[in-house]
Amino acid sequence: MNDPLIIAGKSYSSRLLVGTGKYKDFAETREALDASGAEIVTVAIRRTNLGQNANEPNLLDAVPMSKFTYLPNTAGCYTADDAVRTLRLARELLDGHSLVKLEVLGDPQSLYPNVIETIAAAKTLVAEGFQVMVYTSDDPIIAKQLEDIGCVAIMPLASLIGSGMGILNPWNLQLIMDRVSVPVIVDAGVGTASDAAIAMELGCAGVLMNTAIAGAQRPVLMASAMKKATAAGREAYLAGRMPKKLYSASPSSPTAGIIASVRS
């Protein structure tokens, strides 16, 4: 089925976006990415380790930019200024690549987004020509404001980053999708395959996850499960589920032609 995810005018066949952090090594990272089928992968921007041998293996070798669309993030940034500087560095690092993931966090315990700083950063980045996919709270009004600023995808949390708590407020995700026309991608909180399926069944355009895969006992197998769950949830959404009702009163087998009772 041809059902591409379109972000900033570019088509992607996978609706699963994955992070590249927390894996055992680069080999496992690559194996999990391949099993997930993801095309867009998030990366972090960090200081070089000055004490380290500059020839050590690096992410770019294991996850080549020719095969994956890099989505540099601003993880760890708590101010708009730090987030903007990080993404300017990312654009220089990645040869002018402008598709980025903006996240400005509120506190280190919850990693909950600071929407005020996020909005400020989004305005600057959009003005500078970045294509901003933005991590935010599940507040529908903020989501709409971020779209109005010019963000190319709205990425509300389903629950806190790294919590694996699943889709805690499907109603708010629905409110966001009712108001926003750019892709809505659940970012953060997915714990297992059914969570990804639920997000997609709700009508989300995609799901982004890292810990749910990297933190599984067998990350590569979980990556495969997430690929299927995301695709299955999408198909179920497109198929249109049957209405829920307490009683059926409508059996699946014919009511005519049932054999007669021999007791009279």
Partner: protein, 67 residues
């Protein structure tokens, strides 16, 4: 000699040292890095012509695994 701060650590460099020369000394020549000086990006194409000044604050970054 001048003192610059690379990723927060002080480092002594010769007077009029270019960014390209510093990059070479750090072993990063040809590596995919990005560099910011005193809050502003320095494009790779300018490394050879830009010289460092005493007290410059430099950030040198790479892409790493992250979610």
């Amino acid at each position: 000699m001048i003192t610059v701060f690379i990723n927060g650590a002080a480092r002594q460099l010769t007077h009029n040292c270019s960014i390209a020369a510093m990059i070479e000394e750090l072993g990063y020549t040809g590596k995919r890095i990005a560099l910011e000086r005193n809050g502003d990006i320095v494009p790779r194409s300018l490394y050879a012509e830009k010289t460092l000044t005493d007290g410059d604050k430099l950030e040198i970054v790479v892409a790493v695994g992250g979610g």
